[in-house]
Amino acid sequence: MTESLIDPETAARVGTVAATATGEVIRRDWQRWAAAVGDDNRLWFDPDYARANGYRDVICPPLYLQYAILGVSPLSGLRPDGSSGAVSGSLAFPKAPRRMAGGESTTFHLPAYHRDEIEMVRTISAVVEKEGRSGRFVLVTWHTVYRNQHGELVAEASTSMIARP
């Protein structure tokens, strides 16, 4: 039998919290993100337009929310590939070091505003080895919940990653 790509220590973490993080939603940061996407939607930039559409101010683009909680990564702690691993709980796959995002599925419940304080809790849902067209790989899935400073559910997401030998 071929050796598993998944170490027992990693397998034992399924069902546990991989990472928690809190961060402030900052208008300038989401606007920089939107500029990098070329997304000039006035809901992210124009308070009058946002108010005319039922919001109390400009809102954070839904897909930006996941970055608002990112902390600070000392460069000395990066993986050789330059990624930090902080939000994924630093899962290690020494036998499958090539990482690639799998997919994401998010439900957005409430808008986020400038200076909202977001808490993220990310749980490891599954770590499974699979056989694909280009060989064996590890599929990791997380479930992530985002709440604001009032304890309200802002969004929840399932995210996956693929690690290949």
Binding site: W33, V37, G38, R42, F108
Partner: protein, 145 residues
Amino acid sequence: MTELFYEDVEPGDRLPELTVTVDETQMFFFSAATYNGHRIHYDKEWARGKEGYDDVLVQGPLQAALLARAITDWIGGRGRLVTYSVQNRGVAFPGQPLTFGGTVTAKHIDGGRALVDLDIAGRRDADILMPGTATVELPRRQAVS
């Protein structure tokens, strides 16, 4: 921007397509905006030598953000993105024109909310790089009495 209403949308309708050719400047700014240090997006020697790609890779989350932009541009200020689900199926390189769009698959009223389901995709020519689904909430033309 003209307002899009629930009543205006029918299954089979297609979203206006968004075509973007991502370059390395856009990739740099997107990595900066998302605090992404992954070498595969800026270190050509790493991308080719260590990971076996032809070039650095356009970030999957940038493709996802462009696909979401196609949706939020279409639904206008009073539409809301409710669910958004995508898979990274293929890689894209800088300099390649990528097209983002979708098709309405269903519409339904759920708990008083007017919801529209979409099949969405990011493509390079006929290659689907990022398939997915989304649900948006749209305003109704008349208030329900």
